[in-house]
Symmetry: C2
Subunit: 324 residues, 2 copies
């Protein structure tokens, strides 16, 4: 069967609310710098009131990745749950405008569209606070097994383990992908997320995942090692294709005996690291679905990440295909 | 046969003359920043006159490495040529005081003991200017084949290709080591040095060297690639054990299918990078000759390099065995 999409991504559909702040504010509001924390509606409202000069833009880790693939010239589809409210329509408009197919029906009742309050400090680090909202209503009925079977790669985010029903949707998608002889790819999403779901993630990685994305903190959390290299060796023993990102140190990509150590793309000024990992995955998967050599997939990932960290916000501002 | 030394090193015996300077001075004196340039006696005299507040200390890349091995508690011997002059006696005193066996007789005629005028800029980079002096008189007669055969590893520096007679000494040592079933290790020394001797170095690496040390500029120069990863892949195809240093990015060490990506040791302030590669090799070879796992050899190399870059000068100030 011809693939109708290069990559079909499943994730938490989230609108980002970004504001610049300082370390003092993070401390005052007990925010764990650099991490993604889950918050309830009340806390979301209180933090939102405390934000100064915020801007809203469609986000969600996996959705950013799909937007990146489309920006590179690839063919991407997205599955995620918004509510039929203002933010939900904004999310739908933006991801479609980015060139990504998005057909998941909006929830007509229940909590509002999810939002992530992101505080960017002068060191370009982002601290994220997610109110999951409508994401908790994503379930197996939202998975179109034909669409999954027709995509070269199905891509899932570890964040999907936080809403209780989503993992059933993920398992349905994984089974459909593998039944059709397709590949399944996953990002570990966040070191704290790995901490919450380590046993399930380890089992998943070992039994279901073909291509793994992780940054060094996530990988070290998964394998509970004190050094990146020890985690890398554990990963190699598990025998998966893996793309491991290391911020300014670039990335290490692995496939069997193949190991590549690829430099980060030069960036004149790092403004906001939100979306760096998401866009790296976009570039890598774009290259992968075109059958490019592994080191070239990593290079494209680095270029896409370099673009997104050079400005505010987690989606590319320039068409990425002009950069690679 | 029981090894009488862990490592026997052969190198250019050089006294370092260090001074702090700025980029303006380098430009004014047409000095290639970060590199090692060869200079004649006249230029050495002129540059020495222009140096402000210099300090002298025994150096030489390979000699620094042997001093590092001794400081770690290993057993090291050194072969190199000084003249029977003041600097020559200083060199001999210092390397012996460091605990390294050094029996090569001093030249009694010919050029004086070699010196390297090192300019350290505020960014901790060092720019080296070497007057080879008595090093040009090192020859095959200075190689004690019994001592070579009795050392676990013979270690040579690429810089030995610059004085015309030294490579005959090196080849004699390599043959003696291999005839005794011992290993031969080499550092590529400097990217410009690789440029001068690329064809010979490539042949040597492929046919004679068991353990290669190189920084990324040297490795990329050897294989004439534009990225570190491409050079790494070429190196892996050549199938040697290799320890590849990448400054703040740490090191990548390779042995067959084994690839380790090891972080640099944390350093509170980088003062002077002179000797970083030399001390990395010391730590690695110390670990290697004790049969430690490859990643542990790299870690010890990183700790030794971290110590030497945290102060002025190319030999350890603290006993390294207390740090590892």
């Amino acid at each position: 069967m011809t693939a109708s999409h290069d990559v079909l991504g499943i994730g938490n559909a989230i609108v980002d609310v970004l504001a610049r702040t300082d370390d003092e504010f993070l401390k005052l509001n007990r925010l764990a710098k650099g991490a993604m924390s889950l918050i309830d509606a009340e806390r979301a409202e209180a933090l939102y009131q405390a934000m100064n000069g915020s801007v809203e833009c469609s986000g969600g880790s996996c959705a950013n990745t799909m937007a990146g693939i489309a920006s590179l010239g690839g063919n991407a589809a997205y599955v995620g749950k918004v509510r039929d409210d203002g933010l939900g329509w904004t999310f739908r408009h933006d991801i479609r405008a980015a060139g990504v197919a998005f057909e998941t029906p909006a929830a007509t009742s229940g909590p509002p569209t999810a939002r992530c309050l992101i505080f960017v400090t002068p060191d370009a680090q982002r601290t994220m606070n997610t109110y999951l909202g409508a994401c908790v209503t994503l379930g197996p009925d939202d998975i179109d097994v034909k669409a999954v079977a027709a995509a070269k790669v199905t891509y899932i985010e570890g964040y999907l383990w936080d809403p209780p029903e989503a993992k059933a949707a993920v398992r349905k998608a994984i089974d459909a992908a593998h039944a059709a002889g397709r590949l399944v790819s996953m990002t570990l999403s966040d070191a704290f997320c790995v901490d919450r779901w380590r046993a399930e993630f380890l089992d998943l990685v070992r039994t279901k995942i073909d291509i793994l994305f992780a940054n060094e903190a996530e990988l070290m959390s998964l394998y509970q090692t004190k050094s990146f290299d020890a985690a890398l060796q554990a990963m190699r023993r598990d025998g998966k294709v893996a793309a491991l990102t290391r911020s300014a140190k670039g990335s290490v990509v692995v496939r069997g005996e193949e190991v590549h150590v690829v430099d980060a793309a030069p960036v004149s000024r790092v403004v906001d690291t939100t979306g760096a990992g998401d866009l790296y995955a976009a570039g890598f998967l774009y290259g992968w679905t075109r059958g490019l050599p592994l080191a070239e997939c990593a290079r494209i990932g680095g270029v896409a990440a370099g673009e997104v960290i050079s400005h505010f916000g987690a989606r590319p501002e320039q068409p990425l295909k002009t950069l690679v």
